[in-house]
Every structure is written in structure tokens, then in C-alpha cells.
């Protein structure tokens, strides 16, 4: 499978996430679109890892080249889990103060 197909797929997924962040006003949906973008990047990292591994296998059989990207994806997942727990706590606190999850309420921060 050519690497370009995976890149196009991940770009489409990432752009859908960007459009969601730009067009929706519900804070939870915006947060979910950020998760979507993170997953697009994860998939692309794994695809590149396999591309690199395939190129290295032809030179030296039995190599583990390209494993770093998969470790990196694992750490991205760890950071995403920590980020979601804190972010959802912030959204809950915002809902408790304003009784809404509309992100336009947050523009009072600029004054």
C-alpha cells in the first residue's frame, strides 16, 4: 500500500477535526474534535513506522527499526488520557459557573 494513501486519509481526518474546532460551539464537541486530530496523527505515525520498517528490513533482516514511532504513539495516548481528565474537569467547572458549555462564554477572559 503506498504511503500517500495513508497520508491522505490522515489529512482528511485531521481537517475534519480542524473544521469541527472552528465551527462548533459546544465545548465538549470541540474537545472531541481535538481527540480526532490526535488520532489522525497517531495513525500517521504508525503508517510511517511501518514504512520505515519495511525499508530497513530489506537491508538488515530481523531489525526493529521503526519501533520508536509506535512507542511515541503509546506516549501520545498516555498524554491524551491525562489531558482528557483535566480538560473534562475544567468543562465541568465551567458548566457549574455559567450553566452552559458554550465556548463563547469564555471570552470574558480577555478583559
Amino acid at each position: 500500500m503506498p504511503i500517500q494513501y495513508y497520508i491522505y486519509l490522515c489529512l482528511a481526518l485531521f481537517s475534519i477535526g480542524v473544521i469541527g474546532v472552528l465551527t462548533r460551539r459546544n465545548a465538549i464537541i470541540v474537545f472531541m474534535c481535538i481527540e480526532l486530530m490526535l488520532n489522525a496523527v497517531n495513525l500517521l505515525l504508525v503508517a510511517f513506522s511501518k514504512m520505515f520498517h519495511g525499508a530497513a528490513l530489506q537491508v538488515t533482516p530481523g531489525t526493529t527499526a521503526g519501533i520508536d514511532a509506535q512507542i511515541f504513539v503509546f506516549f501520545i495516548m498516555v498524554v491524551a488520557a491525562a489531558e482528557v481528565s483535566v480538560g473534562l474537569a475544567i468543562i465541568v467547572m465551567m458548566f457549574r459557573n455559567t450553566h452552559s458549555v458554550d465556548i463563547n462564554f469564555l471570552n470574558r477572559l480577555k478583559n
Binding site: 480542524v18 465551527t23 458549555v101
Partner: protein, 166 residues
């Protein structure tokens, strides 16, 4: 067309359609359910790439833990569907336009890149995605980041509790 290609196209179409439905759905709960479908399809892609450990972790962590947390928060807040806030139509159009132009720009860039021409992704061969090589790398070369991530989890837990208590 081989079986792998058919699986790739089917999973890709599934991912894109579900991701669009995440945006289009009015009800946040439906968005969460569509997002769970996206994560399952991405796990299918990982299995296709023979990254079995990441496929299972993706299902357990994302579809299992994170999305349940999202559902929990949405049901806890009980946001009324009728006061769903609308964004201005012009702002929506500009958002879609800028996201679409971002996509077109990067696709054109990838199409022109010479280094990526003729590069192939190994689909089912290669065993770097299995648990044994990954665990070996994680506990030898990457043991310090692994321990630091546990500190990160501890601080995230303390932060979530402190923010939630106020």
C-alpha cells in the same frame, strides 16, 4: 484488488463518514457514539498495519475509558437539546473553507514530495507492533519517559480532583 486493499478502503470510508457524523450530529451523545465508531475503525487500521498492541490499547484507552468519561460528563450536565447554540452561518462557512483549504494545500504538498514517491507501507509483515519487541523497547530505551509519564498521570489526577472540588 486484493483483500487488504478492500479492507483499507472500507475502513477508510468508515473512518471518514463516522468523523463527519461526529460534527453533523446535533445531540452530543450521538457525537460520542460516532466517535467511538471512529476509534474502532482506527483500531482496525492498526490491525491491518500489524500494530496489534496499539490496536488493543486504542480500544481500551480511547473507546473504553476516555469516551465513557465523555458520556459520563455529558449525562451529568444534562445539556438541553433545545438551547443548542447556533454559530453564525458566515463563521461556519469560513471555518469549513479554511479547513478545506488546509486539506487541499497539504494534499498538493504531499503529491509533489519526491521523497515519498514509491514508498510502500508494510501491511501484514514486520513484527515491531507485537507486544514482545514493544515491551522490550519500552523497558530498556524508554524506561525514563515511561516513569515520567506515571508522574504526569499522578499530577493530572491531583489536578482533576482539585479543579473538580472547587
Amino acid at each position: 484488488m486484493s483483500t487488504l486493499e478492500i479492507l483499507f478502503y472500507a475502513l477508510s470510508a468508515f473512518v471518514i463518514i463516522s468523523a463527519i457524523m461526529v460534527l453533523v450530529s446535533k445531540n452530543p451523545i450521538h457525537s460520542v457514539l460516532w466517535l467511538i465508531l471512529v476509534f474502532f475503525a482506527i483500531s482496525g487500521h492498526y490491525i491491518l498495519l500489524n500494530a496489534q498492541f496499539l490496536a488493543i490499547v486504542n480500544i481500551i484507552v480511547y473507546a473504553g475509558a476516555i469516551m465513557v468519561l465523555f458520556l459520563f460528563v455529558i449525562m451529568l450536565m444534562n445539556v438541553k437539546q433545545e438551547n443548542e447554540f447556533k454559530k453564525h452561518l458566515l463563521v461556519k462557512f469560513i471555518g469549513v473553507l479554511s479547513g478545506g483549504s488546509f486539506l487541499v494545500l497539504l494534499v498538493a504538498l504531499v503529491k509533489q514530495t519526491v521523497q515519498l514517491q514509491g514508498q510502500k507501507v508494510l501491511l501484514k509483515e514486520g513484527n515491531i507492533g507485537l507486544i514482545h519487541p514493544l515491551g522490550k523497547a519500552l523497558f530498556t530505551d524508554y524506561v525514563v519517559p515511561f516513569e515520567i509519564s506515571s508522574v504526569l498521570f499522578l499530577s493530572a489526577m491531583v489536578g482533576a480532583v482539585i479543579i473538580g472540588k472547587k
